[in-house]
């Protein structure tokens, strides 16, 4: 499973519905609130056994994927 696929799975579960994402998708479009964002980050960290650090700013899906891949590579 690619990072994009895994991220889609987490975002869909959090949203409670099927959503389409691409690396260009901006998180603002997805209308997650602050609780959702905390939950998403926690699920990513648990799934990959990584830490994404404090005050992570979620902008685009592609940027988040890059951060995840970087954290995984540095494990």
């Amino acid at each position: 499973m690619t990072t994009l696929e895994k991220l889609k799975e987490i975002l869909c579960e959090c949203k409670g519905e099927d959503i389409d994402i691409t690396p260009e998708t901006n998180f603002d479009e997805l209308e997650f609130d602050s609780l959702d964002k905390v939950d998403i980050v926690m699920q990513i960290e648990e799934a990959y056994d990584i830490s994404l650090g404090e005050n992570l700013q979620l902008s685009t899906v592609g940027e988040l994927i890059a951060k995840i891949d970087e954290a995984v590579a540095n494990k």
């Binding site: 579960e13 959090c14 409670g16 609130d33 609780l35 939950d39 926690m42």
Partner: protein, 246 residues
């Protein structure tokens, strides 16, 4: 009949916790009994829950242990598929005048009574959030509202539960998760049974309704707060104390 709900009740092996668990079981819930005592001690509770038609399982856990509470929350979801209701009831006392209170007595009471609530809420709410549903009730005490000589640790822990509950109510309200506290007064237990008649009479004078409460009175309050009738109630402290603290 609506789907059965799943309730995780801490300290459900005996006393108030067992009464809460049994009351929820009779109200169509399956029960995860979380307790630190041996399973044998909770066997009677488990048998009563099963007889009431509930699926009931026992999980041994020290609620002050962060990792252990996560493991229990995960195990309950694995076994039951979800957690709809969390009742934070586990609590201990280690009474002494503050001048004589040891650091260990402070840490133990705060660890189980207050951090235990934080631990369970922390690990159960991710599951509730994804379901967009949750009912959390934490057992405080009127002592948390009025203070009590000889119980600085206990009173602080129970007051802390109120602040925790109100914060959780604000954080999770948008997810249809309510958080409320029940504050019992003097409840009839083995401890109050041991009091002399003179001591009991002195106690009754403090209570407008003139009697000790029963464990069932607390269980009834919890049943209400997790019911659909209380769907618009969050962040409250429901005193069940015969008017002891007004």
């Amino acid at each position: 009949m609506p789907d059965k709900r799943v309730a995780l009740v801490t300290g459900a092996g005996r006393g108030i916790g067992a009464a809460i668990a049994l009351t929820l079981a009779k109200d169509n819930a399956d029960i995860a009994v979380v307790d630190y005592g041996e399973e044998a001690a909770a066997a009677e509770t488990l048998a009563a829950l099963t007889a009431a038609g509930a699926v009931a399982r026992y999980y041994k856990c020290d609620v002050s242990d962060f990792a252990a509470t996560k493991a229990v929350a995960d195990a309950v979801v694995k076994d039951f598929g979800k957690i709809d209701i969390l009742v934070n009831n586990a609590g201990v006392t280690a009474d002494d005048l503050l001048m004589r209170m040891s650091e260990a007595a402070w840490d133990r009471v705060l660890g189980i009574n207050l951090k235990g609530c934080f631990n369970m809420i922390k690990h159960v709410t991710p599951y509730m959030m994804r379901k967009r549903y949750g009912r959390i009730v934490s057992i405080s005490s009127v002592v948390g509202l009025m203070g009590n000589a000889g119980q600085a640790n206990y009173a602080a822990s129970k007051a802390g539960i109120i602040g925790l509950t109100k914060s959780v109510a604000k954080e999770f309200g948008a997810r249809n998760i309510t958080a409320n506290a029940v504050a019992p007064g003097f409840i009839k237990t083995a401890m109050t049974d041991a009091l002399t008649e003179e001591q009991k009479q002195a106690m009754y004078k403090l209570i407008p309704l003139g009697a000790l409460g029963e464990t069932q009175d607390i269980a009834n309050a919890v049943k209400f707060l997790v019911s659909d009738d209380a769907r618009y109630i969050t962040g409250v402290v429901l005193k069940v104390d015969g008017g002891m603290y007004i």
